[in-house]
């Protein structure tokens, strides 16, 4: 109750002292100061309610305190009974005592505060009352003065009315006289007009004449029924006709520049000549001038004189033709603005036609530029060309010159990309030719192969530098200072589709294709392609797959911040293609090398007469050659490819030889008799043997390592040997020779392959087949075979 009482008092005090003194005692939290925001808050609350904000969110009130709570001591709905009840019911005695003392203390404090407030504000009340009383006196004096002012004004109005009434008469007369004077001057002008016009025409002041004529025309028209005026009009018409004729004459002569012509046209228009005709004539004149420009440009193009460089050419075209066109267009638009859309259409058609011819010339010139390698000059020329055409483009939007220019620039850029792609391809082919030569040269000098890794590095770096150069050249098109670089084509499609897809991806693809074409070439028989080149290309493609492709593409993406959303070939696809190419090349290498050795073996088997050969004394030279060649291939492949994994080898690789000969000896025992059971046995034997060995895929894809490559080559060679042996018939010594050869091969070939078991198996087959094809199969003693092989 105390606080409410205080609130009322505080409000009264605040109202009396004006808003300035509203801030009373600041030390009491429950004082009037707290009440004022409370009211404001209420008003705010309503506003907020109106604007849909929830009351609970308003600041100040601690969350959760209900404004309607009757137990809230400071709340508006405070009910002392309820509060007391609550206190009595809820609080223990000690707390009741506490709250009582607390309350008493608060009441006391509030009492003293109120007293201070009343004392402080008393003086202010009194002075305010004084002020109001003084104001009342002042106002009364002012009212009297206002009344006096009103009477004075009434007197002044009266006087002024009287004066104007007296002057009225004279004023009218003056006006009349002035009118007559003007009329007379006009008439004088009219009478003098013919002579003035003649004079003007004589002096060549056509502008003046036209102005006079314009001024007089309407009047003469109006009063032509009066004979005197009629005469003047006739005179004027004659003179005007002469004037118009002279003007036309001057216009047609055309020697004067475009501004003068424009002046003529303007005057003629003012003379009321038909605008349409004039506008046609104007355009015809302009056409003549512009055509002259075009012809001079064409002369520059001409085949005989040394054509100026493309930059000069576009400059010439820009200043001559485009500048002229601009002038014509702006003059036309000024002069014939009244013609409306039909006139604009005429101008647009005019500009379109001449612009088209200009573009044709520019394109012819640019086409001459296609062959050259200098991109910066071309880009600068294109930039000038494009920039020049933007001004008339704005002037003649309907003619679409700017669009056409942009199109030309785009086309040139596209052609440029194509040119660079061609360049890259040519560079790649050049590299290959170099490699071929390098591969051919040292062979003559007697040392082969040592440069293979070096050659690879050379090729890779030279291709990379070519790519980088192309990228840099093409990058000029998107440079910031070039006027067309912000066209949507150059920001999007050019970067993604043109450069990334067309140039880089296209080149990598074509590189793969070129490489693959070596595999498909009809020269499968021998060596249109040197095998070393295949090997080198394969390694190159593999390197591209592992690193180079992603490097190049990252480089491209960085240089040409590709903003286009159109789908681009992902790196992984390209890598897969490169890997496939590398694999095919390597497989082809294996085939080619295998074929070389196969041919050697085949010739050696097919050309010999195996039935009547002598007892073997040593290993045949062919076998030594085979081992030598295989070693050479091993070295060659080793230069570019890693070793690779091979199966765990048995420690004694010669152990298996005995089993071979024992089995072949067994066959030998059965073979001569032609009883039906004997072949059964041998078949059974070999079949059982095969049951435990896996099928050998002869031409199988290879992996990217040396062992796999060598295994492939040896497989192909030995399988050929096997098939050839099966087509021949052997005498006893023939068989023994085969035995010796095979043992020799085994001694040397096992180290090259992944699984030496494979070599054993194939060589066993060879010997077994030879034994089957021998009418008198007596194998040689293994020890003798060994001795021969070691000696050889």
């Amino acid at each position: 109750p105390a606080s409410r009482l205080w609130a009322a008092v505080g409000a009264m005090a605040a109202a009396a002292a004006g808003p300035g003194t509203g801030s009373g005692p600041g030390d009491s939290p429950e004082g009037p100061e707290a009440e004022a925001p409370e009211r404001r808050r209420k008003a705010h609350g309503m506003l907020k309610l109106y604007y849909g904000l929830s009351e609970g969110e308003t600041a100040g009130r601690p969350p959760g305190s209900d404004p309607l709570d009757p137990t809230d001591l400071n709340g508006a709905h405070f009910d002392p009974e309820v509060y007391l009840d609550k206190l009595r019911r809820e609080c223990p005695l000690a707390q009741l005592m506490d709250s009582e003392t607390d309350m008493v203390r608060q009441i006391r404090a509030l009492d003293s505060d109120m007293q201070t407030l009343v004392y402080e504000n008393y003086n202010k009340f009194i002075s305010a009352t004084d002020t109001i009383r003084k104001m009342k006196n002042d106002f009364r004096k002012m009212e009297d003065e206002m009344d006096r002012l009103a009477t004075n004004m009434a007197v002044i109005t009266d006087f002024s009315a009287r004066i104007s009434a007296t002057l009225q008469d004279r004023h009218e007369r003056i006006t009349k006289l002035a009118g007559v004077h003007a009329l007379l001057r006009k008439l004088q002008f009219l009478f003098e007009l013919p002579s003035r016009l003649t004079k003007c025409v004589e002096l060549g002041a056509y502008g003046q004449a036209v102005r006079y004529q314009g001024r007089a025309r309407a009047v003469l028209q109006q009063y032509q029924h009066l004979p005197s005026f009629r005469a003047i009009q006739d005179d004027c018409q004659v003179i005007t006709a002469r004037l118009a004729q002279q003007l036309r004459q001057r216009f047609r002569e055309g020697g004067s520049g475009a501004p003068e012509q424009a002046e003529c046209v303007e005057l003629l228009l003012a003379l009321g000549e038909p605008a349409e005709e004039l506008c046609d004539e104007f355009l015809a004149h302009a056409r003549g001038r512009l055509e002259a420009e075009l012809q001079s440009l064409e002369a520059e193009l001409g085949p005989s004189p040394p054509a100026p460089d493309v930059l000069e050419f576009t400059d010439l075209g820009g200043s001559g033709f485009v500048g002229g066109l601009c002038q014509v267009a702006s003059a036309y638009q000024e002069l014939f603005a009244a013609q409306g859309p039909a006139g604009a259409e005429k101008l647009a058609a005019f500009a379109r036609e001449l612009g088209g011819r200009y573009f044709a010339l520019v394109e012819r010139r640019l086409a001459q530029e296609q062959g050259s390698g200098d991109n910066s000059l071309l880009v600068r020329a294109l930039d000038r060309f494009h920039r020049r055409l933007r001004a008339p483009g704005a002037l003649l939007a309907a003619a679409g010159l700017a669009e056409a220019a942009t199109e030309i620039v785009e086309r040139v850029a596209r052609e440029r990309l194509g040119h660079h792609l061609q360049g890259l391809r040519a560079a790649f082919l050049g590299c290959l030719t170099d490699v071929r030569q390098a591969l051919a040269a040292p062979r003559l000098a007697g040392k082969e192969g040592p440069g293979l890794a070096e050659l690879l590095a050379n090729v890779a770096s030279s291709i990379l530098s070519h790519i980088k150069a192309s990228l840099a050249a093409v990058h000029l098109f998107t440079a910031k200072e070039v006027s067309f670089s912000n066209k949507p084509y150059f920001r999007g499609e050019f970067c993604s589709q043109g450069v990334r897809e067309g140039l880089i991806v296209g080149f990598i693809r074509s590189m793969c294709q070129t490489a693959q074409s070596f595999c498909d070439s009809p020269g499968e028989k021998g060596g249109a392609t040197p095998p070393a080149l295949l090997l080198l290309l394969s390694r190159l493609c593999l390197d591209y797959e592992t690193a180079t492709i992603s490097y190049i593409l990252t480089l491209t993406d960085e240089q040409f911040l590709v903003q286009d959303q159109s789908p681009v070939t992902p790196v992984s696809t390209l890598c897969a293609e490169a890997r496939e190419t590398a694999r095919r090349l390597l497989t082809h290498y294996v085939k080619v090398q295998g074929l070389v050795i196969s041919q050697m073996l085949r010739k050696s088997v097919e050309t010999r007469d195996w039935l009547s050969t002598l007892e073997p004394r040593n290993v045949r030279a062919v076998m030594k050659r085979v081992v030598e060649d295989t070693t050479a291939i091993d070295v060659q492949v080793g230069l570019l490819y890693e070793e690779g994994v091979r199966k765990a080898q048995s420690s004694d690789s010669s152990k298996r030889t005995f089993s071979v000969y024992s089995s072949s000896r067994q066959q030998g025992r059965y073979a001569p008799s032609y009883t039906p059971s004997a072949p059964m046995d041998t078949n059974l034997l070999s079949n059982i043997q095969k049951l435990f060995s896996e099928r050998i895929d002869v031409f199988s894809p290879v992996e990217f390592n040396k062992v796999s490559v060598l295994t492939g080559i040896i497989k192909i060679s030995l399988k050929t040997l096997l098939e050839c042996v099966r087509l021949r018939t052997f005498g006893r010594f023939g068989l023994q020779q085969v035995q010796v050869d095979c043992h020799f091969l085994q001694l040397y070939l096992w180290r090259f392959v992944a699984d030496e078991e494979l070599v054993h198996l194939l060589l066993d087959e060879v010997v077994a087949s030879a034994a089957l094809r021998c009418p008198d199969p007596v194998p040689m003693e293994p020890s003798v075979v060994e001795v021969i092989c070691e000696r050889g």
Binding site: P522, K525, N683, S686, K690, D697, V698, F699, L727
Partner: protein, 287 residues
């Protein structure tokens, strides 16, 4: 056919004695003047009086007289060129009333006219390596299949020999034999020294049009029907089956002359395998 089989049949009948019948020598083709014989082929139609034999670089046409007891050399031709040229294989075309023979030497396939014994066409570098075998399409004249050491099987149109019509590359070693089925020429059998026999379905170049026969009464009608047929089942060449029963190189394959759905293959280890065209495919072709 492999070399060793042919001479065996003609020159040394005493070697191949069998318990059932003894073969008896009817006639001797005297080839002493021409070197070892690579291939012998009878005239496919006619009265069986004409035989072609290929010996080294000579192609010899024999006339069998007096109930095939005597062979007279009717005409001959020989290869000319540098190096030792040797025929490896030859086939007598079943078309053109038996006037055409195709031969293979090294990587080249040649066609001969038996009337004049002159060369009609020549496919240089038909295969990357040695050509092993040839076969004529029994139903489509001018179509020829070849196989060789480059693991490929190629189909040729002898009227345009610049490019093969089709190339198959399914074997992993030399292909020794290629045979068209006698009645359904989309079935092509190949045997290879990778120990596999492969049966392929060459629909796209077969004489049997795929699916139903198209009545070509009206061109526009035909054009209307074609895309429809394409959308249903586009003709696709495919491998029907790969037979891997052999443990060693397969040197001969052939179709049965009695049952068009039966074929046999022979491998180095002496195993003869007889197979049947899969039933599903058979019905698909027949129905």
């Amino acid at each position: 056919m492999p070399k060793e089989l042919e001479p065996g049949g003609h020159e040394s009948p005493d070697d191949s004695t069998s318990p059932a019948h003894t073969l008896e020598l009817l006639c001797h083709l005297d080839n002493t003047a021409h070197g070892s014989m690579a291939c012998v082929a009878w005239e496919p139609a006619g009265d069986g009086k004409k035989v072609i034999s290929l010996a080294d670089s000579h192609i010899l046409l024999w006339d069998l007289q007096e109930s095939s007891s005597q062979a007279v050399l009717a005409s001959s031709a020989s290869l000319e060129g540098k190096g030792q040229l040797k025929f490896t294989s030859g086939r007598w075309s079943p078309h053109h009333t038996g006037t055409q023979v195709a031969t293979a030497n090294d990587t080249t396939i040649r066609g001969w006219d038996t009337r004049s014994m002159s060369q009609i066409y020549c496919i240089e570098n038909a295969h990357g390596q040695l050509v092993r075998d040839l076969d004529f399409n029994p139903n489509k004249q001018y179509y020829l299949a070849s196989c060789g050491d480059d693991c490929k099987v190629k189909f040729w149109d002898t009227r345009n020999v610049a490019e093969p019509v089709k190339t198959l590359e399914q074997h992993s070693h030399w292909v020794w034999n290629v045979r068209y089925n006698h009645s359904h020429d989309q079935l092509v059998l190949t045997g290879s020294s990778d120990s596999r026999v492969i049966l392929s379905n060459m629909v796209s170049i077969s004489s049997e049009p795929f699916g139903h026969l198209v009545d070509d009464d009206d061109l526009s009608d035909q054009e209307e029907r074609r895309p429809e047929g394409k959308s249903q089942e586009p003709p696709q060449d495919s491998v029907i089956a790969t037979y891997e029963e052999h443990e060693d190189s397969v040197y001969a394959v052939d179709w049965s002359s009695a049952d068009p759905w039966l074929f046999a293959s022979l491998s180095y280890d002496g195993r003869l395998v007889i197979n049947r065209v899969p039933r599903a495919l058979k019905y698909h072709i027949l129905l």
